[in-house]
Symmetry: C2
């Protein structure tokens, strides 16, 4: 990792992309929960929903760790999972982008 220093403009880009991905992912969970709720037929469906919510909460808590040292890894993962595109990070330094692309392909 070469350019771990984040310029003010990179910080703005990073924060916007981070928040955008988090909101997209949370919207997706909200949509999925509404869908699951419409399909509740048996008590087991309730406890499956509880487990799903706990899993989502834990995954999101673990993943969205806003430390600059972690951001390239997080952004790489978010691209891999489809929550961000490279365009959303346009403006970050080439060293960071190379590292993010590498992580995205893992």
């Amino acid at each position: 990792m070469r350019d771990l220093t984040w310029s003010p403009s990179e910080k703005v880009i990073a924060k916007r992309a981070f928040d955008m991905a988090l909101n997209k992912e949370l919207e997706s969970v909200m949509g999925k929960v509404r869908e699951m709720a419409g399909e509740i037929r048996r008590p087991a469906d309730l406890w499956a929903m509880e487990q799903f919510l706990a899993k989502c909460r834990n995954e999101i808590d673990d993943k969205y760790d806003y430390r600059y040292s972690q951001l390239p890894i997080i952004f790489g993962r978010l691209i891999r999972e489809g929550w961000l595109t490279e365009d959303d990070l346009s403006g970050l330094g080439p060293g960071k982008m190379d590292y993010i692309r590498t992580i995205a392909k893992i």
Copy 2:
């Protein structure tokens, strides 16, 4: 507690009432969850739903303890909470019914 022995016919009545109350309560949770899902606007609503589900599961697990020694206490509580009526227990011996009524009024 006087007549803690359950006759075969009392066991049938108890099982039917127990299952009926449990089903009613589970149906109520399912209805409430469908309603909550329709009102999800923010991520916090998701985690509130997760907490609600966990609370319901724990309360239901604790409450519905099908041991004959516990049934009068459970039936009393279920009457107090509105999941059963005295009529649902019609056919149980007068000693049990007295005890159930006492618990129901606590």
